[in-house]
Amino acid sequence: MWYPLLVFPLALAGMSIAEPLQKGDHFGTFGPHEPFKQGGPIGSQTPDGFNALGPVVEQPIEFPHYIHVEKMGIDCLYCHTYARRSAVSGIPRLSKCIGCHQSIESVKDKPRIKMLLDYWDKKQAIPWKKVHDEPDFVRFNHERHIQRFIFQQERPTREACGYCHGDVGNMTTARRVKALSMGWCISCHQKDHKLNAVSDETSHGPNDCWQCHK
C-alpha cells in the first residue's frame, strides 16, 4: 500500500500516523482560507492558502510604495520598466527617482528624500536587498509573463504584478507575500484558460521542466 510512504511527511506535520489519508485533507498548517494578517510571523499563512509569508526586509531607504502607487497613481511599469522586455524587472535606475525628486520642493527635506539625494550626489547605487529571490537553478522570465497578462490579455498592471508580488502598492518596502515555490508556480500554470474571447480552445502555461530549469 502506498500510504506507508507518507509516514515521514505525516510525522513531521504532526498528524497521527495511524489515520489514513482521505480525499480533501490538507497537510500541516494549510487550513481553510484565513484572512491575511499583515505583519504576521514568517511562514504563516498567505491569502492564497500557501504557508509562505516572507520576512520583513530592511532596505537602505524605507521606500513607500503606497505613496507612489496609491497616492500618486504611478504605474508599476513606470519604475520597474524592464519587466516587459527582459528576464529581470529591474530596480529603477537612480536617475529615474531623481528625475522627479530633483524638482519636488515639498518633500525635499524629508529624511528619506535626503538620503536619496545623498546617494545621487555621490553617484552611488542604492544597495537594495532582493526580496523575491528565486534560487539560481530557477530561470524566471518577467517578459513572458508581463507580455502575456498585461499586453496580450490586457489585465490591469497592478493586478498582474500582484499575482506574484502581492499588493505592493499598499506596502512601504516590498515583502514577499506569496509562496513563489515551484508547486505554487505550477498551480497557476496548470489552470486551463480560454485562449481568447471567440474560441472555445483552452490552454495552460508550460509545464516542461526545461522552461524554467534551463
Binding site: W2, L21, G43, Y82, W120, S181, G183
Partner: protein
C-alpha cells in the same frame, strides 16, 4: 491503488506539495531567499542598457597576431562572452577557441593586481609611484654605457608607433621583436623570390592546395580567416582539393583529401621532384630558366622516393592533379623551415608556385598600407639570439619586456635565464606573472585586452586595408592595473614633453590618431561622430584590390638541397615540437578552457605526450601510456607515449605549450616543454632556429600512466566483433540499401 479514495494523480500532487513543504522545512520556503542578496540598479546608464539583455561592443582579439575583430556580449557592466565581429574582414563574425578563452585571461584568479618590485631577492607589492620612479631612472641615465632594449612580441598599431618614438627620443636604444614560432625563414624566401615578406595566399580561388606542413586551419598565422576561405574553397562549384605533405599530422592535415607522411627535412627534395615532373610540360617549362631545369634534373622519382620515403608514383599523380585542378596554390608551413637548410627547403617549395604560374592568380600582394608606421612587425629568433649574446657580454643595461616570455620558450642552449641575471635592470609588463616576469626587478600589472584601447593591423590582409579597433568591454577589474599605452605615453611625456603633453592619456592619443586617419578611409562624418562610428563598428576598412606579384630570379643555389642522412647513431629519432591551435607558443596555456579542450588529433587534455608511430612503438615494445625518456644532446624530457599513425615512423612529436614553471594555477607544472631541449642548429641563410632539426634518443622507463583523453578505444575492439568492417571493394552497395527512400 485500487480501493483507496486517492488516485495516482492526486497522490503525486499531495506527495509533491507535501514533499515541497517538508523539504523546505516547516518554517517557510527557505529556498526562496528574501533580503539576503543585493539587487542594485544602475545610477545613470545609457538608454540602451537593459538589465538582463546583453549589449554587444566591438573590439579586437589579441590572442595571436591575426587581430580578428570580435564582439563582446556585455550584461550589467560585465563582459560575458566573445563572438566574432561580422564587420571584420579577418574574422567575418567567427572566432576561434583562443578568442573564446580570452574572457578567462580577463577574469583569471591569478591576475597581477599591483606593481611588484624585487627586494632582497623576491618580488614584493609596491606602488605605481615607486614603480614609475624606477622606470624613469632608466630614461634619465641616457649617457651611461649599455643598451636599453625593449623586448616585445609581434606588434602593430600605435603601441609600435609610441615605442619607436620613445627610442627616437632617446628613451631606449632599440627594440627586439621575438616570436618563438617565427616564420622568418619563409618571409626571407618570399622576399627573395617575390619581393614581399607576406604574399597573400588566396585559398578560395585555388582548385588544389598543396600544403607542405602549412597548418593554416590550426596553428597558422590567421586561422579564422583561413578557415573562412577554406570553407569557400570546399563549397566552390568544383570542390577544392587539399593535399598535405608533412612529417606529423596537423589539424589541416586531418582535413586533407590526401595526407602524405614525409621524412622531416626532405620536403624540398619532394618539391624538386614534383617540379621536375611538372617541367616536362612545355606550358610550365617555358617560363623557367634552363639552369633551374637542369638543377632539378637529378630528382627522379626513384631518387626522391629513396630520400623522402614517399612513394614515387605520387609525383606524376600530383602533377596530373595540379594540371587538372588549376589554379593551384602551394604552401610551405613551419615544418620545412625548421632545418639547417630551411631556407633552401622552403625556396624549393616556393619554386613550385613559380613553375605552376600561381603568382597573380592565387598568390598575390596586399595593397600598400597608407600608414606604414602601423604595419605589423613579425618577430624572429635571430634577434633574440643576438640580444642574448649582448646580454652575456654585459652590454645590455636594461631590458623592458612586453608580450614575450623567452625564459619559457627559448631553448636551454641559449642560457637566456642566466644571461638575464647580467642585465642590471629588467622590467616586464604582464597581466599574469610568467617565467620571464618572475625573473625581473620590476613587474607592472597590465589591463587585460578586454579592458584596454588599442589599434591593430592584421598580419594577413586579403580583403582590402583594415585597421582593427580595440576598446574596453568593461571597466577595469582591478584599480591598480594600467594600459601599456598609458605607460608608454607617460615615458614619452618625460622625454619629449612638447610633442605629447597635449594628450591626457592613451585614449586621447588614439582618438586624435584615428580622427587624423579619416582621409585615409575616405570618411565624411564629423570628427566625434567618426570616432564613435569607428568604435562601434570595431574596424576601419578600405577596399583595395590585391596587387599582382611577380617572381624574381631564382638561382639553383637557392634551392640546393643537402645530401641526406649523416645523423649520429646515438640520437636515432627526429624530435618534432608540435604546434597546436590551442597552445601555440605556450602563451594560452593558463586558460583553463583551452587546457580542457581536447587536442584535435589525440584528444588528450591537461597533459603532454610523445607521439610515436605504432610500428615504431611495436619495435620498441612501447604501449600507450609508457613514460618515455626523450633525450637530446641538450637535455631530456619525459612524456607518456601516444600511438599515432599520423607521424613519420622515424620521428617523435611532443606538443609545444605545456611545461610551465610559473604561469598561474592552470598552467604551472603541467606537462613538459620540448622547446627546452632543442639543438643549437640554425638555418644557414637567415640564422633562424631550426625547430625541427633536433635529434633525440628514446628510452622506455619502467613507468606507465593513463592518459586523460576524450577518446575511447575506438580503434581497438580487443578481439571482439563490436564493429565489423569490410574493405570497400568487398561490399556490394546495391545490397546495402534494402529500404526505399521516399
Amino acid at each position: 491503488m485500487s480501493g483507496s479514495g486517492v488516485n495516482r494523480r492526486d497522490f503525486l500532487q499531495i506527495v509533491g506539495l507535501g514533499g515541497t513543504a517538508m523539504a523546505l522545512s516547516a518554517c517557510g520556503n527557505t529556498s526562496i531567499e528574501s533580503g539576503v542578496e543585493l539587487v542594485q540598479s544602475y545610477v545613470q546608464p545609457e538608454n540602451f542598457v537593459v538589465p538582463g539583455v546583453g549589449v554587444y561592443y566591438a573590439s579586437t582579439c589579441l590572442q595571436c597576431a591575426s587581430a580578428c575583430g570580435i564582439m563582446g556580449r556585455v550584461r550589467e557592466g560585465r563582459i560575458l562572452k566573445l563572438e566574432g565581429n561580422p564587420n571584420s574582414t579577418i574574422s567575418g563574425g567567427k572566432i576561434c577557441g583562443l578568442g573564446q578563452a580570452a574572457v578567462q585571461q580577463h577574469y583569471s584568479p591569478d591576475r597581477l593586481t599591483t606593481p611588484m618590485i624585487r627586494e632582497n631577492g623576491s618580488l614584493k607589492p609596491a606602488t605605481w609611484d615607486k614603480a614609475m620612479a624606477l622606470l624613469n631612472a632608466t630614461l634619465t641615465s641616457a649617457d651611461a654605457p649599455g643598451r636599453r632594449v625593449w623586448l616585445t612580441g609581434p606588434t602593430s598599431g600605435h603601441h609600435q608607433v609610441l615605442l619607436r618614438s620613445l627610442i627616437d627620443a632617446g628613451g631606449a636604444t632599440d627594440t627586439v621583436v621575438y616570436d618563438a614560432l617565427s616564420t622568418a625563414v619563409e618571409a626571407s624566401v618570399n622576399r627573395k623570390l617575390f619581393g614581399v615578406d607576406h604574399p597573400v595566399t588566396v585559398i578560395e580561388k585555388a582548385g588544389l592546395v598543396l600544403s607542405f606542413g602549412n597548418d593554416f586551419l590550426g596553428a597558422g598565422e590567421s586561422p579564422v580567416a583561413a578557415a573562412r576561405q577554406y570553407a569557400r574553397f570546399r563549397k566552390a562549384a568544383r570542390r577544392g582539393i587539399l593535399v598535405q605533405i608533412e612529417p606529423k599530422m596537423t589539424l589541416t592535415g586531418a582535413n586533407a583529401d590526401r595526407w602524405v607522411p614525409i621524412k622531416p627535412g626532405t620536403e624540398g627534395v619532394f618539391a624538386l621532384g614534383l617540379a621536375r615532373e611538372l617541367l616536362q610540360r612545355k606550358e610550365y617549362s617555358g617560363g623557367i630558366s634552363p639552369a633551374l631545369i637542369a638543377a632539378v634534373e637529378p630528382y627522379t622519382q626513384v631518387e626522391v622516393s629513396r630520400i623522402t620515403g614517399v612513394r614515387g608514383d605520387l609525383i606524376p599523380h600530383l602533377a596530373g592533379m595540379l594540371w587538372e585542378h588549376a589554379p593551384s596554390l602551394v604552401l610551405a608551413g613551419r615544418y620545412p623551415q625548421g632545418h639547417a637548410h630551411g631556407s633552401r627547403n622552403t625556396a624549393a617549395i616556393a619554386l613550385l608556385n613559380v613553375v605552376l604560374q600561381n603568382q597573380g592568380k592565387t598568390l598575390l600582394r596586399a595593397a600598400d598600407l597608407p600608414f606604414p608606421q602601423l604595419a605589423p612587425t613579425a618577430g624572429d629568433f635571430k634577434s633574440l639570439a643576438e640580444l642574448n649574446k649582448a646580454m652575456a657580454a654585459g652590454q645590455v643595461r636594461s631590458l623592458l619586456i612586453h608580450g614575450s616570455n623567452p625564459v619559457y620558450s627559448a631553448p636551454d642552449f641559449l642560457g637566456f635565464a642566466a644571461n638575464l641575471q647580467k642585465v642590471a635592470f629588467k622590467a616586464a609588463w604582464v597581466t599574469e606573472l610568467d617565467e620571464t616576469a618572475a625573473q625581473c626587478d620590476l613587474v607592472l600589472p597590465l589591463l587585460s585586452p578586454l579592458e584596454d584601447f588599442g589599434t591593430h593591423i592584421p598580419l594577413n590582409q586579403s580583403d582590402g586595408i583594415e585597421l582593427s579597433m580595440q576598446q574596453p568591454l568593461m571597466q577595469k577589474l582591478y584599480p591598480e592595473t594600467r594600459s601599456f599605452g598609458d605607460v608608454l605615453l607617460d615615458l614619452l611625456k618625460k622625454t619629449k614633453p612638447d610633442s605629447y603633453k597635449a594628450f591626457p592619456d592613451y585614449y586621447g592619443y588614439l582618438k586624435t590618431a584615428i580622427i587624423n586617419a579619416k582621409p585615409a578611409f575616405s570618411a565624411q562624418a564629423e570628427d566625434e561622430a567618426f570616432w564613435e562610428e569607428t568604435l562601434s563598428a570595431g574596424v576601419l576598412h578600405r577596399a583595395a584590390p590585391l596587387l599582382p606579384l611577380s617572381a624574381m630570379e631564382i638561382t639553383p643555389a637557392m634551392i640546393e638541397q643537402p645530401a641526406p642522412g649523416g645523423y649520429e647513431a646515438k640520437y636515432p629519432f627526429s624530435l618534432i615540437p608540435a604546434v597546436s591551435a590551442s597552445m601555440r607558443d605556450g602563451r594560452p596555456a593558463n586558460l583553463a578552457w583551452l587546457q580542457e579542450s581536447p587536442d584535435t588529433l589525440t584528444t588528450v587534455v591537461w597533459d603532454s605526450w610523445a607521439e610515436l608511430h605504432p610500428s615504431t612503438a611495436k619495435a620498441m615494445d612501447v604501449r600507450e601510456g609508457d613514460v618515455l625518456l626523450i633525450e637530446s644532446a641538450q637535455g631530456s624530457i619525459r612524456a607518456k607515449a601516444y600511438l599515432m599513425p599520423g607521424i613519420h615512423p622515424g620521428s617523435v612529436a611532443v606538443p609545444v605549450g605545456q611545461g610551465h614553471d610559473a604561469y598561474g594555477r592552470y598552467a604551472t607544472h603541467i606537462g613538459v616543454n620540448p622547446l627546452k631541449i632543442l639543438d643549437p642548429i640554425f638555418d644557414q641563410d637567415t640564422g633562424e632556429l631550426a625547430l625541427y632539426a633536433t635529434r633525440v634518443a628514446i628510452t622506455k622507463t619502467d613507468r606507465n600512466e593513463r592518459f586523460t583523453k576524450d577518446e575511447g578505444a575506438t580503434n581497438l575492439q580487443q578481439g571482439r566483433k563490436l564493429v565489423a568492417t569490410l574493405a570497400a571493394d568487398q561490399v556490394d552497395l546495391s545490397k546495402e540499401m534494402p529500404f526505399v527512400i521516399r
